[in-house]
Symmetry: C2
């Protein structure tokens, strides 16, 4: 077999890279569970019927078929790989509704697949971590406040403990925008622009970041035939971005009034205040965020990494009034998804974030000669009994070579002799007497440490 | 959307079931890492070329294609889902050999897929946990001793900590059998049965468990035309099964001699003694184990659960002299795979193993009224700061209803009042004053506990 080449779009990490990913996943798990989110996994495949319900994304689906299925006649039960974790979760909720306790908080960390043509920078397999809360028939609005706090706490720990860049979450509320537009008479019975849909306005405002405010105003007056004044009001709203609740006053000063606007303002205010209380300085009310024009109905979230904005949003989500429905019961939800591979892939590949070693072992137990391998195994067992990861040298080489073995893997300590022996910190060269039954390593050395070099 | 039905062969668990699985995965991870095994993940797909190298398993492969690929012309770069973790690992080793430090210990816990027709009791997606050590050009035999010790330590912890059934690993060495057959003149130049291949004998001996010793002897004399005496010797060897190294004497007493037999006996003796030392009573030398007739070349392992033998082998593996080769370099390895879904699926489904709660929360913080939700959030934040998982009640219902909310999810404690409040153990009904900044829960309640009822 010739040396295989990587498959474009299917990232894989070396062991040290995987350790970085694992450190991130550990933080996610701990944070989510501290907030009461239960973990689930769903199967990798869904029926094509489930996957294609939302029409437009079918082009990105990978179809899965038995090798010996008849290629000419697609099987009725053809399956596809899931392209996100929301569609499978919605299906899981419907399938298991009778066995779940609502409101149901879940987190899910799994690979997802997009059946794209190979293309530079496009992932075809990547890891996502989703949190969602789903209710039966109704879901109180305070969950819109909870979800961003949970995700921001996790991101803040990654920053504080692993040195990842700071996150900044941009939040908006679609009711705020829609209420504002209605207050301007857009899509409002008897309003000046009754025929224009608020969604059409939102779609154009969504281009604010790309084309700028004046160009958006032109689209609104040109394509939608809004008046110059109303278009400018819409653009002014989209331009509001505050790190606290001062956006409320700024919106009020635009002089538009509508019940739905009040509702949106109040909820967004609560989200921003609560997040600032728990994770200060990591959220902004950003009134140009529209976020996926399909199923979000309230709060919407996007998150960028400060200094790495070109990565795009690494964590997004929102409120959807109908995550799933079986006709009788509707399941509203609110959730945020973190693109783990999108966040870490480039940093790991460019070695901007690294683990201090490529193995879990904190200690290499040296072997005097093959006859005394059992002694080394005894030492290792004694260390493991106290949760110290270690490995025994594979060969009774000269000690210098065994130390090199440790050094090459980043293992900080080498043990010489038996249960009563000596331990050498190969970073400092210090060597001291030690008992395998009682020697303790510095807590920071128990696991690989993660360091960043963000340039 | 009508209520979806499960897909046969694609098991999914409810949150409490997933908690059982997670508890098992935590033990695996900790055990493997204490022994210096580094985690990796490989992509879900391999090229069809990689997957079909071993011919006979192609019928079980799931092919993966973009939805809009031309159905008539299979694409040159068609992909398939991996059906085990060994083939992807071999490919990963070849692809990354220049970046790996050998001998390389890795563990890998991922789903695998088998493209079978739906069939009762057959998994089409299931979780495996593999450990392997791979060397460059050579791999010392003491790794044959290490691998079963590591897997047995993990299985023993599952037994001791989670109440899973005891494991019993059956070990053999193919050199032992082959040396024995050669000593009898089978497949041996100048021997009495020079024309008979030792593999042919092994294939028939492999049926020992199913058809019994006498029937195996008949196959050997009938199909392979061995003498009655030699056939009986082969059957006698296969019948040897000892929990210690007394098998050596039993084999010796059969009076067969061969260098390769000596080698196999010695290595098997070391494996059995070492495993018995670290995990007493969980291994037997079982000389009828043949295990996958394709690539194993030395030690072979199979593991059954005591009292649940009909599950088959839940953990199997062995030594392979060539896990991978690029023509110049050969990578020998030894590894053992644990079928996590095979082990847990039936137990979880039949509720023979359960988690004490369906959420991670140890505490439900009750809410007096919606105006004081912030106070409850403060309490929750204080508890989380000390790593106590908790959730705030979704609604300011009557306290009885809030307690029911906790009870339904198995949450043991309910917190009433503010930072200085009261905490009720809803199992005992005891209620006491508590400070959110200092209250400690019993350590056993921090995480869900796992209980078994194996009937």
């Amino acid at each position: 077999m010739a040396r295989p080449k990587p498959l474009s779009g299917f990232p894989e990490f070396l062991p040290a890279g995987r350790m970085v990913e694992t450190a991130v996943l550990d933080i996610l798990r701990e944070t989510f569970e501290l907030h009461g989110y239960a973990n689930i996994e769903t199967r990798a495949v869904e029926t094509m019927e489930t996957l294609t319900r939302k029409g437009e994304i079918t082009k990105e689906v990978y179809v899965v078929r038995r090798l010996h299925a008849d290629p000419a006649t697609p099987e009725k039960d053809d399956l596809g790989l899931h392209f996100d974790l929301t569609v499978p979760f919605a299906r899981y909720v419907l399938e298991n509704a009778g066995h779940l306790a609502f409101p149901f908080r879940r987190y899910q960390v799994q690979k997802v697949w997009r059946g794209e043509r190979p293309q530079e920078g496009r992932y075809r397999e990547f890891l996502q971590a989703d949190i969602d809360v789903v209710g039966q028939d109704q879901l109180p609005e305070h969950f819109d406040v909870e979800a961003p706090v949970v995700m921001l706490e996790a991101l803040e720990r990654m920053h504080a403990e692993l040195g990842l860049p700071q996150a900044l979450m941009h939040v908006n509320n679609r009711k705020l925008a829609e209420g504002f537009y209605r207050g301007l008479g857009i899509g409002q019975e008897g309003g000046a622009f009754e025929q224009v849909s608020t969604l059409d306005v939102l779609q154009r405002v969504d281009k604010f970041d790309k084309i700028g405010g004046p160009a958006v105003a032109e689209l609104l007056t040109g394509e939608l035939e809004l008046s110059q004044e109303v278009a400018e009001q819409c653009v002014a709203l989209a331009g509001i971005c505050t790190p606290d609740d001062s956006f409320v006053e700024q919106v009020r000063s635009l002089g538009v009034e509508h019940e739905m606007l009040d509702e949106g303002l109040e909820l967004l205010r609560r989200v921003v205040l609560a997040a600032n209380k728990r994770v200060p300085g990591r959220i902004v009310a950003d009134l140009k965020i529209a976020r996926g024009l399909d199923y979000y109905t309230g709060t919407v979230y996007e998150t960028e990494l400060v200094g790495h904005e070109k990565l795009g949003s690494i964590s997004s989500g929102g409120r959807y009034d109908s995550l799933a429905s079986d006709g009788k019961t509707t399941f509203p939800g609110v959730g945020i998804s973190l693109g783990v591979t999108r966040l870490l892939g480039p940093l790991i590949t460019k070695k901007q974030i690294e683990a201090s070693r490529s193995v879990p072992s904190a200690v290499l137990v040296a072997v005097d000669d093959e006859q005394s391998r059992d002694v080394a195994e005894e030492v290792a067992a004694a260390l493991r009994a106290r949760r110290i990861p270690c490995e025994v040298a594979p060969k009774a080489d000269k000690f210098g070579k065994q130390i090199k073995h440790a050094d090459r893997r980043g293992i900080p300590f080498v043990w010489f002799g038996g249960l009563t022996g000596q331990v050498k910190d190969i970073r400092s060269g210090e060597q001291a007497d030690a008992q395998a039954s009682s020697w303790e390593l510095p807590e920071a050395d128990r696991r690989p440490t993660i360091t960043t070099n963000l340039g």
